[in-house]
């Protein structure tokens, strides 16, 4: 009986397996294959003739200053975006995790940005951060800064080409927009975590004479650690392949200060017809995401065994 059921179960999920096998893993395979070919023009792609070129496309990419900039940008964007979302999410969640009048209203307000499409966020924050022509004709947030007497803080935002080491300062407005959009999400995750902590534990800590900071660090944080890890995975894979927000907010920016690998992939593939190099960028992005996700999957699978 049990055996039969197992067989039936497999039969039922087999269409899904087939579809995922073809449309996810099959296409990943096709992309990897394309990245090893010489399909760098529409003509060669159409001919369908596969000429193996080894890792030439990858070598070209890593020698390309725009791609190098992209890798740095992704790194800094991911680090600051993760840090910002986790910190703000945690602070908001701690503030809301107490009997507060209208707490639910705030909770919804902080969560709302997540309901927006990233393209909308990008367009709106583009208006906010459009610098205008400084100093006489500011726009967006610079007008506000001028009105409240903080003229010295007026800045060219995402159009600056200044850097600190390899970090492009123009990424700051983009990071702010991304954190604004997704910190509500981390707040919700942390809030759920905090609410799951049994009252008796905090009670006990208080009876033992722990102060607020000790209660948080010694009692609550251990509960929140796995949540932090999940949030990092989810946000990390969003930020490593971010396209829509950056594309609608700043584009590549002057000197590619806000360029991302995904934008470069789009331009290589659909504007320049360099399908092989575009595929190579896609494969590199996949590897980056895999580096983040696979250890997580392995640890989860181990736990469930």
């Amino acid at each position: 009986m049990y055996r039969k059921k197992k067989w039936l179960g497999f039969l039922i999920i087999s269409p899904t397996l087939a579809v995922i096998g073809i449309f996810v893993y099959g296409f990943i395979g096709a992309t990897v294959r394309a990245s090893l070919s010489d399909w760098n023009s529409f003509k060669k792609l159409l001919s369908g003739e596969f000429v193996y070129t080894g890792l030439r496309n990858y070598e070209r990419l890593f020698a390309d200053w725009r791609f190098q900039t992209d890798m740095w940008n992704t790194l800094f964007f991911t680090v600051f975006f993760l840090f910002g979302c986790l910190l703000i999410g945690l602070i908001l969640a701690s503030l809301l995790d107490r009997p507060l009048k209208g707490g639910r209203v705030f909770q919804s307000i902080f969560l709302f940005p997540m309901a927006l499409s990233l393209v909308v966020t990008g367009t709106v924050w583009r208006w906010f951060f459009a610098p205008g022509i400084l100093p006489n004709d500011p726009a967006g947030i610079n007008v506000l800064l001028g009105q409240i007497g903080l003229k010295s803080l007026q800045w060219n935002w995402f159009t600056v080409t200044d850097t600190i080491g390899p970090f492009n300062l123009a990424l700051i407005p983009v990071i702010i927009a991304a954190v604004w959009q997704l910190s509500g999400y981390t707040m919700a995750m942390y809030l759920a975590g905090l609410r799951a902590i049994p009252e008796s534990m905090t009670e006990a800590a208080r009876v033992d004479g722990a102060n607020a900071w000790q209660t948080f660090w010694k009692v609550k944080w251990p509960f929140l650690r796995p949540i932090t890890l999940s949030a990092m995975i989810i946000l990390g894979h969003i930020s490593l392949k971010i396209f829509d927000l950056v594309y609608s907010m700043t584009g590549s920016g002057p000197k590619n200060v806000t360029d991302m690998p995904s934008i470069y992939m789009f331009e290589k593939t659909f504007r320049s017809n360099r399908y092989a190099e575009g595929s190579a960028i896609a494969v590199i992005m996949l590897l980056m995401v895999a580096v983040v996700i696979i250890p997580y999957l392995i640890s989860t699978l181990k736990k469930s065994d």
């Binding site: 792609l45 583009r126 459009a130 400084l134 726009a139 584009g251 002057p254 659909f270 504007r271 017809n273």
Partner: protein
């Protein structure tokens, strides 16, 4: 309800009986462009009442999205009956060379319209001796649009002919507190658009055109000179040029914040839409030292191989190539007809100026708009200029252009 069903059946039978459709693919989804396209479709329906026109449009500036969709369809063997494409390499390199297009030279001769277009534009539409698309409209790329009020204020009497005169004007505009020349290069191509006009001025139309046919080397002092001029222009840009697109740049002129900008004459349509009258609130002149040339940006229609309704596609091509078709479409879109025998009285004062020049000046293909070079070269040039405008390193830029040109198989020795 029954009547409705009967009616539906009748329509279905009619469609099956005639089975006649034609699918026209374009990115004309708004403004005057859409109005022009719809007028053409209406005329087509009057001429061929049995044929159903499927208006397949994909929105998106400069056709970026439409082009990606079209590529997928052509690749998958599901071509539309006819599609909008910029004249030149955008068609040849992408579709003609891989053998996806039918030559239409024979039809043009049969319809007697082969010699109704200027020779230079036909050359751009030709690959290996065969014409592959019919130009519907022409935009001019090498135009400077300016605010006449500011021009008066800074004492511009006649349009500048040389870069020297032009820079003197820019300096005056800057001293008077205006942005001298506006740019909006979020999408990158606007910087290339400006640069290609500078290249045209330095190479001259004759040599500039030969760059693309492989008869003139890129390794020429004119290329360095072009970057030097570009370098001299950059301090006059609006500082926030990276935060806007061409509409934002034109808007600065409209709001009397900027003196001028270099843009294709779709900017003229933009100013008119904002309520300005050509020649009154805004003026124009050819980019300095390019007065002898006309940088063309032209939309054309071609015939893909394996078009499902070839006969109807040919009818469509015949219509868009006719004087009626062109004179119907272009005044609405705000461009000039590609034919030399069109009716001038239907066009405004700016377009008449462009038409007069179109007939007599040397025609040069645009890089930024896909006519001169393959899309991959245009994208590389976009990147080079995007970098150049920030770091102003002439040697580096020249070196990169030569590398890009060599990769595309142009002469660089």
């Amino acid at each position: 309800m029954r009547k409705f069903i009967v009616l539906m059946c009748a329509i279905l039978i009619a469609v099956v009986a005639f089975g006649s459709q034609v699918e026209i693919f374009s990115w004309w989804t708004g403004g005057g462009e859409e109005a022009g396209l719809l007028a053409l479709i209406k005329l087509f329906n009057q001429l061929y009442p049995g044929v159903q026109v499927i208006n397949a449009t994909v929105a998106g500036g400069a056709g970026t999205n439409a082009k990606a969709v079209l590529k997928t369809r052509m690749l998958g063997g599901n071509p539309p009956d006819s599609f909008q494409v910029h004249a030149g390499m955008e068609l040849s390199d992408t579709y003609v060379i891989p053998g996806k297009m039918e030559p239409i030279t024979g039809y043009l001769k049969e319809w007697g319209i082969f010699d109704k277009f200027p020779e230079d534009i036909m050359k751009i539409c030709t690959y290996n001796g065969e014409v592959y698309s019919i130009p519907v409209n022409v935009h001019r790329g090498n135009v400077v649009f300016y605010n006449t009020a500011i021009a008066k204020e800074i004492g511009m009497k006649t349009p500048p002919k040389t870069w020297k005169e032009f820079f003197e004007l820019l300096e005056k505009a800057k001293k008077a507190g205006y942005v001298a020349i506006s740019l909006g290069d979020t999408g990158k191509w606007t910087a290339t658009h400006l640069f290609e006009s500078i290249m045209l001025s330095q190479f001259g139309p004759y040599k500039y055109n030969m760059l693309w046919t492989g008869d003139q080397s890129f390794n020429h002092v004119a290329l360095t000179e072009s970057f030097e001029i570009m370098k001299k222009i950059t301090p006059y840009f609006n500082k926030d040029h990276a935060a806007g697109d061409w509409q934002d740049a034109s808007r600065l002129i409209f709001e009397k914040k900027a003196f001028c900008n270099v843009m294709g004459d779709w900017a003229e349509g933009y100013f008119k839409e904002m309520g300005w009258t050509p020649g009154v609130e805004f003026g124009w002149f050819a980019v300095p030292e390019t007065d002898v040339a006309f940088m063309i940006v032209s939309d054309t229609f071609g015939l893909p191989k394996g078009a499902p309704n070839k006969e109807n596609a040919l009818r469509w091509l015949k219509l868009v190539g006719s004087v009626e078709g062109q004179d119907l479409f272009n005044p609405l879109k705000g461009s000039i007809p590609a034919r030399v025998d069109a009716d001038k009285s239907k066009y405004d004062v700016y377009l008449q100026w462009a038409m007069a020049d179109f007939g007599v000046k040397a025609l040069s293909p645009s890089i930024a708009h896909g006519s001169a070079a393959p899309e991959s070269f245009a994208t590389m040039l976009n990147d080079i200029l995007n970098r150049f405008v920030s770091d102003l390193n002439v040697n580096q830029a020249v070196k990169s252009v030569l590398e890009a040109a060599e990769e595309e198989g142009y002469i660089v020795k």
